[in-house]
Symmetry: C2
Subunit: 291 residues, 2 copies
């Protein structure tokens, strides 16, 4: 998936309807908030319920860090011998937007391979994470006490995407304050919610101690029941599918731009850079050639 | 620019070659590192040199925050009566990717309006910032002592995009340590640099006290001289123009998808969401209709 293998379309066709059978749960939050530990505990909890679990740890970090490979090894230890768990760290390998294309494809393959649930763990709270979180049926936002995360969450647009907030490290000072801050912000947004809308849950947990994880699992199940009952599940998934199709069309067109004979993207870009042509006129020219 | 006004193509055509006359300097770094203060001091320094300055403060935050409007007012105070300075805070207004389209267009208009230099200040160090920073001829990365920024910079891929590092708040404890950390990381990357390549500068400053700003201006000028001498300026600007053209083509195709008669994106997305069709097959169908 990550390398954009040419066999992907055939694989996708062979997966058939199994590709959409898994529930997709996004887990996001700032670095240091305890995402990996929480993911690990959620895997354990879902396994107790006999559900097969896939984990995609999405790390849009520099190819320098080599984080993905090391990450895989560390994560594997707790579930290494469990055939009902598949864990994969995905790195962007230097391609901006690469993960946006590879992640939904990987989710489909994990579903096709029999995972009942796919956890997509994303690093950080930038725009890229908001985009990746939009892959999920249910999005968990993790916070830790005293990190100013409540404010950062608002800034990064995280508040709008969270279905469930988890204040992790709940045994630490400031956990109650963070808990109240989040509740306050949800109340502020209350006027925009209709009577049947989902009201984001706020939970406390200590993933290191394994405390509060059952409540998180229960809220995930409740959210899924709400999604199904209201038709929101279909709406979210259709939106996700539309974005995926668009991304594939754009990728194909990019490839066509590169192969154009005559006045291609490269020459048009040189003229725009020199001020000889404006970008809108260049885009019109390019469209005439490919579309 | 932010609203994607239909008159944009005409305006762009009228700007002509003036649209590429300004130097574009990106300023990025984590929240709290002193970006606004540094930008403010840079404006002051460039004005002393009698250069006209445009500032685009790019804030990809939630429409909730209203930060852009407040920000404008606060920023304006120091330069409110100076006709040689134009400052604008741009917010994404809820559109992912909206800033990626609007920012280069705004840079062109500011250049056309006579700005010699355009400072593009971006919030945070996520992927969106890396993408926006790629708009710049010269990219400044701001760091502050004791924020763990050196490590975060590596994680976020900031190291690769920085032409000049500025350790701000240099009077604080830990400034020397941060300075050394960055120097160490640049040395580590040294084997990948050829003899004529730009070696990132590391400077100390205290923007609040107005200290070290002249050195920053000097390094920006040195970097521009290097860009011009090596032809790298043309290369970067052609890359930027290509990305801008592609983005416009994609936007136009999105609009066409929405207007398609018969089997449009919406219906294909519904079939993909239900597992009836795979996304690659759907993309192929869509391409046949528009291209």
């Amino acid at each position: 998936m990550e390398n954009g293998d040419p066999a992907l379309p055939q694989i996708a066709a062979q997966l058939g309807p199994t590709a959409v059978k898994a529930r997709v749960v996004g887990i996001t939050g700032s670095p240091g908030v305890g995402k990996s530990t929480t993911t690990n505990e959620l895997v354990r909890a879902f396994r107790k319920l006999d559900r097969r679990v896939g984990v995609l740890a999405v790390d849009p970090s520099s190819p320098f860090s080599g984080g993905a490979i090391l990450g895989d090894r560390v994560r594997m230890q707790d579930h290494a011998t469990d055939p009902g768990v598949y864990i994969r760290s995905m790195s962007s390998r230097g391609h901006l937007g690469g993960l946006a294309a590879a992640t939904p494809a990987a989710v489909r393959v994990l579903a096709g391979a029999g995972c009942d649930i796919v956890l997509v763990e994303t690093v950080g709270v930038g725009q890229a994470e908001v985009e990746i979180a939009s892959l999920a049926d249910t999005t968990l936002v993790l916070l830790a006490p005293g990190m100013g995360d409540a404010i950062q969450a608002v800034k990064a647009g995280i508040l709008e995407i969270a279905d469930i907030f988890v204040v992790n490290k709940a045994d630490r000072d400031g956990a109650d304050a963070t808990y109240k801050d989040i509740h306050g912000m949800i109340a502020l947004g209350g006027s925009e919610r209709g009577p049947g809308d989902w009201r984001p849950r706020v939970l406390k947990a200590s993933a290191v101690r394994g405390e509060g994880i059952e409540d998180v699992v229960e809220s995930i199940d409740d959210h899924e029941a709400w999604l199904t009952r209201t038709g929101e599940l279909t709406r979210r998934r259709e939106q996700r599918a539309a974005a995926e199709i668009e991304a594939l069309v754009v990728a194909e067109l990019r490839a066509r731009f590169a192969e154009l004979p005559g006045v291609g993207l490269h020459e048009l870009a040189a003229r725009v850079a020199s001020g000889d042509l404006d970008p809108y006129a260049a885009a019109t020219r390019l469209l005439e050639e490919v579309a």
